[in-house]
């Protein structure tokens, strides 16, 4: 009987903890969003965060996109050649990259790079009293630290994904034309015939949502970290894991919503 009660208590504690976490995250997100629209504004900090999230993530996102496009072309060829459907490779590559792989892979890579860095920076600031110091210097920490990162993340990721789309298609094109013997003109015609603006736009909408989520989880976990170096490490891990899971889950939800709209 006692073991049963312990189990019920454990389930209850987990449920309460989960609800508390969701509530805290929701309030944190609302507070961060509200500070975006209320002065004072910090354009320099938005620019700095944009460089950290966007510009410095360019190499890793670019490499990921190129190799993904290349592998996609190879794999598609291997599968489609069994049915004589090699001509579909160009459309598979362009649709996969723009609709799914571009935003999701860029999101995961930026989460691992910039999301982790945000959590580590804010976590260190928390455990060394720097966030408290901001408050004592007439500066609202949510406005100074969180709002600029949320704005920068939401703007930077679509731009990164736009680049990833181009490079992913380029990777597929290179493999198809240089290794699989496709004609350059035919491949490009097939690519652009099958590509619609909605495909790119839906990917960019996803990217904006993922960018916001990466910044939110990085800031949220860093901001509430405690316990010194170990706490900062835990916050960094939590930021990457939670952002990655949310990206994958939101990708499904957004695909369903956008698919109905786009058809």
């Amino acid at each position: 009987m006692n073991k049963l009660l312990d189990l019920v208590a454990l389930i209850g504690a987990v449920a309460l903890g989960t609800v508390e976490f969701i509530g805290e995250l929701g309030l944190f997100a609302l507070s961060g969003l509200s500070h975006i629209f209320r002065p004072p504004y910090y354009p320099r900090l938005i620019g700095k965060a944009f460089m950290e999230i966007g510009y410095f993530s360019l190499p890793v996102v670019a490499l990921t996109a190129v190799f993904t496009g290349m592998v996609l072309a190879l794999q598609s060829y291997t599968g489609f050649s069994r049915f004589g459907a090699e001509s579909a490779i160009a459309s598979v590559v362009v649709l996969s990259v723009t609709r799914e792989l571009g935003p999701v892979l860029a999101g995961l890579m930026v989460s691992g790079r910039a999301g982790a860095a945000m959590a580590a920076e804010l976590g260190t600031m928390r455990v060394t009293d720097q966030i408290d110091a901001l408050s004592t210097l007439s500066t609202e920490p949510m406005k100074y630290l969180v709002a600029p990162r949320l704005v920068a993340g939401t703007i930077a990721l679509p731009l990164l994904v736009l680049l990833a789309d181009i490079l992913g298609v380029l990777g597929g094109y290179l493999v198809a034309t240089q290794k699989l013997g496709f004609s350059s003109g035919a491949y490009l015609i097939s690519t652009f015939t099958n590509l619609r603006a909605e495909d790119v736009v839906s990917g960019l909408i996803k990217a904006a949502v993922f960018g916001f989520v990466i910044a939110l989880m990085g800031c949220f976990n860093g901001y509430r970290s405690k316990g010194g170096a170990q706490g900062v490490g835990t916050a960094t891990t939590a930021a990457v894991v939670s952002a990655s899971i949310l990206i994958l889950a939101l990708d499904y939800i957004l695909t369903q919503v956008l698919f109905v709209k786009v058809k």
């Binding site: 920076e121 600031m125 060394t128 009293d129 720097q130 408290d132 110091a133 408050s135 004592t136 210097l137 007439s138 500066t139």
Partner: protein, 256 residues
Amino acid sequence: MSPPKIRIRGLKKAFGSKIVLDGVDLDIQHGTAMVVIGGSGTGKSVLIKSVLGLITPDAGVIEIDGEDVLKAHPKRARQLRAQIGMLFQNGALFDSLPVWENVAFGLLAQKRIKRASARDKAVEVLAQVGLDASVADLSPSELSGGMQKRVGLARAIASEPAIMFFDEPTTGLDPIMGAVIDELIVDCVKRLGSTSIAITHDMASAQRIGDNAAMLYQGRVSWTGPADELMTSPDPVVDQFTHGRAQGPIKMALRK
């Protein structure tokens, strides 16, 4: 008699089942320096963080210039607290900013100076704490512990606050550097005519920077008196704490 600059009554704060502050009463008169002493974990930092608004107390009154900051409109509470300058224990300097931007941060945030003239103002304040212009462009991580404390002090005094808080200002410093920092604190507080609260474990420092002292024990202020009577106080708790005796009421309390 004029009302105290800071008046604290019945301040309570608990973290879960652990009661840290259990009805703190404390008055700090205009232009005086109060030193709060007490063992580790007795709530000294919680006390000043409550006044700063970094921690929300469970109950009590905190008045600044006769206004209760806990009941005031948030905007008014921010205005009242804006007159407090704080020197954190480890400096808490922003490591992403150069020294001059750390020093001028509060002035820029309050829009009291333009960014173009901020560096010159920061250099001027750095000089007041004995640092020359060559450190202005350094990163805080390039400074020694003593220099970081000086920069932290410069940041705290830059906006010429009416109230100043010092959280263990000499911790981690050698005795000579500790005395230098204390001298700077006394000099800055007197020059600005500020009211100050310092929390410390360092008895020499407490007597150098404090006009009055308060002993925090079991969540309450158990003794107050002139700082220069700290070492001669007949109060058994103060006597044990200031002389670092192993035997006495504090140890008894810990054994419960």
